[in-house]
Amino acid sequence: MLLQENPVRAHRVRLAGIPVSEVCFGTEHINRSVPEFGAGILEDAARLHGITFWDTDNAYGSQTQVAAALRRFPREEIAITSKTYGRSREEAEYDLTRTLRELETPYLDFFLLHEVAAGTLSEKMPAFAYMLEMQKKGLVRAVGLSTHCAPVISAAADIPEIQVVCAPFNREGSRIEEGSLLDMENALCKAHSKGKGVYVIKVLGKGELTYDIRGALAWALERREFLDAYNLGVANLSEARENLTIFNELAHGEEARA
């Protein structure tokens, strides 16, 4: 009963037209649990708290946990992001094939070029062309890129085929490798204005801002007009619940009270 009445549920939003939970579960840190236990964390995050948007990658090692959790839901109830460091078609193909096999899923909701470094976007266009082809084939629902560099977000905003961008964004500007915090803010704003889905990572500075979760989330939520979803990396359900409680209070407290 208590669980059903749990008010801490993530809101639903759209990212590049695809329904997702506003708070995304960054799965990198559940790789240290056995697959079935990690799957339990994700399952509870989805069932109890509506966090049905999960972010993973081959490099995180968390795909076994995500795969085990995915088996517990109808596929369409969960939105999955994975990525590729590939530059060439072949590298992107290798990563996509491996990811689909490891996750035991017929498609990904979001497939992104991973951590695109400044000045390398053009080199990755063969991989991106492959991603677009796979989108047409239905293996991927939306494509885009993640990067720690503001100029890359700005450049991506001008590429019509890119539907989603993802970047670190926190009040300290930490984990931004190229450009200032203001540059990143302007770039994300530009991307959003051009119709891209925008989701942000490292809102808590990869743990550096956990001493003030409320302040860090409040800062990010003040910029909600150009941010669609928030990837918060957590290692367990209690961290996810704590973040979501504060997030919802800050983001939707007024609505709830009304």
Binding site: N31, R32, S33, V34, P35, F37, N58, Y60, G61, Q65
Partner: protein, 425 residues
């Protein structure tokens, strides 16, 4: 020859990133001493099958810069700490003079007994690769016992001039030792104050990993500053011996500028967490990592257990920063990939192409096992490791074997101790 490890939970890092742990129920196919394939339900009728149902399958641990003979002989003889400020460097301490005495006093058979006991302790505690800083008089024993046990053993005979240990004064390169595990061992220098210009030149000219003791303690730094106007790592840097193939064994007393030297050189630091804890000095692993210095683990003079090293590293890492910055999986990284990186060898991961060194761990006693690396690092004992493989070959050693070796080693050590009591204690 092929081997197939079936139905275990494979736990490994998947690339050289601290967070890249992956756990997967999978089979592991091994051919010619290397991992060939890791995936579910591999079938190979030619392969010899190892049943790992209910077991964890982990990469073997890598011990870089052990002092096997010194640790065995020193066990029970060394004081509770050995690196007090007034005591001078390890050079003037007790462990190496003791080795000198033992080198003279012990017969070849006795040396082998000492070394065998040490290597068995390492093997039982999960080490499959041991890169040993070897007193040259013990190198043949290491080679013989390493081969007999099937360990991947690299002997690094330490060269020194002008003092303990009296080993190789001429500056000539010693012949590298090669043992059962397969690859050639490298070169080692004892410390900056005992290395002659000829030795530096020889070390520069040698290939492969170079192990050097440095930045061990405050007094060593003082001696180095007086002699060269530089810290020990500064001296090594000036001698062009800090490179990507250098493993600095010690590093407890490295300062910010030393770490910058290490980082820019791409050198590795190998530290014993047990030694740091026993000596009551900081274990600066997080400090190193924050400055991008690859840092691995070794066993020191206070015990030969890589499980203990990981455990103390996890405690020491937390004390060096805060609890969130260094965790069990990071200690496991330091005991596997970081050491492999220091040696420049494909070890420490269960990935195709890597050397087939692995451990089978029975988690029954450790349960409930939701977080295997936490349980491995904080709770596991040698007895929980029920299988050890080196180069695709299962090695069978038991606690009974260890007891037998211990008796022989103690009898040999007694002889050295009786002399040491009069001469150095």
């Amino acid at each position: 020859m092929k081997t197939l490890v079936k139905n275990g939970l494979v736990i490994t890092f998947i690339h050289e990133g601290y967070h890249s742990i992956k756990m997967k129920y999978a089979d592991v196919l091994i051919e010619d001493g290397a991992f060939l394939d890791i995936r579910e339900e591999i079938a190979d009728s030619e392969a010899e099958v190892v049943d790992a149902q209910g077991l964890w399958v982990l990469p073997g641990l890598v011990d870089v810069g052990s002092s096997v003979a010194g640790a065995v002989l020193g066990n029970g003889l060394l004081p509770d700490y050995s690196r007090a400020r007034w005591q001078g460097s390890m050079l003037h301490g007790r462990a190496l003079p003791l080795l000198e005495i033992a080198a003279e006093a012990l017969s070849d058979a006795e040396k082998r007994a000492v070394v065998r006991f040490g290597l068995e302790q390492l093997l039982l505690s999960g080490a499959t690769t041991v890169a040993d800083l070897t007193h040259p008089a013990f190198a043949p024993a290491l080679r013989a016992e390493g081969e007999a046990l099937g360990l991947r053993l690299l002997a690094f005979p330490e060269r020194t001039a002008n003092g303990y240990p009296v080993a190789e004064h001429s500056g000539r390169l010693l012949v590298p030792e090669r043992t059962g595990g397969g690859f050639a061992a490298g070169d080692a220098l004892y410390s900056v104050e005992t290395t002659s210009p000829e030795m530096y030149a020889a070390a520069r000219a040698s290939a492969g990993p170079l192990l050097v003791r440095a930045a061990y303690c405050e007094s060593e730094k003082q001696v180095s500053r007086m002699a060269f106007g530089l810290s020990p790592l500064g001296k090594l840097d000036r001698e062009k011996l800090l490179t990507g193939r250098t493993v600095v064994v010690g590093g407890y007393d490295a300062d910010f500028f030393d770490r910058e030297r290490l980082r820019t050189a791409g050198a590795t630091v190998a530290m014993s967490a047990v030694t740091a804890m026993q000596d009551g000095v900081p274990f600066p692993i997080v400090t190193n990592l924050r400055q991008d210095v690859n840092t691995c683990l070794n066993t020191g003079y206070f015990g030969l257990s890589m499980l203990e090293e990981m455990r103390c590293a996890a405690f020491g890492g937390k004390l060096d920063s805060n609890a969130s910055q260094f965790q069990a999986s990071d200690a496991f990284y330091a005991a596997t990939i970081a050491g492999a990186q220091g040696l420049g060898e494909p070890l420490g991961r269960i990935e195709p192409g890597f050397a087939a060194d692995l451990l089978l761990v029975d988690p029954t006693r450790l349960g409930p096992h939701n977080y295997p690396l936490i349980e491995l690092v904080y709770r596991a004992e040698s007895a929980d490791i029920v299988g050890r493989m080196v180069g695709g070959r299962m090695l069978s050693r038991s606690a009974q074997d260890l007891r037998k070796s211990a008796q022989a080693a103690q009898a040999a050590a007694q002889k050295a101790w009786s002399l040491a009591q009069r001469r150095i204690l």
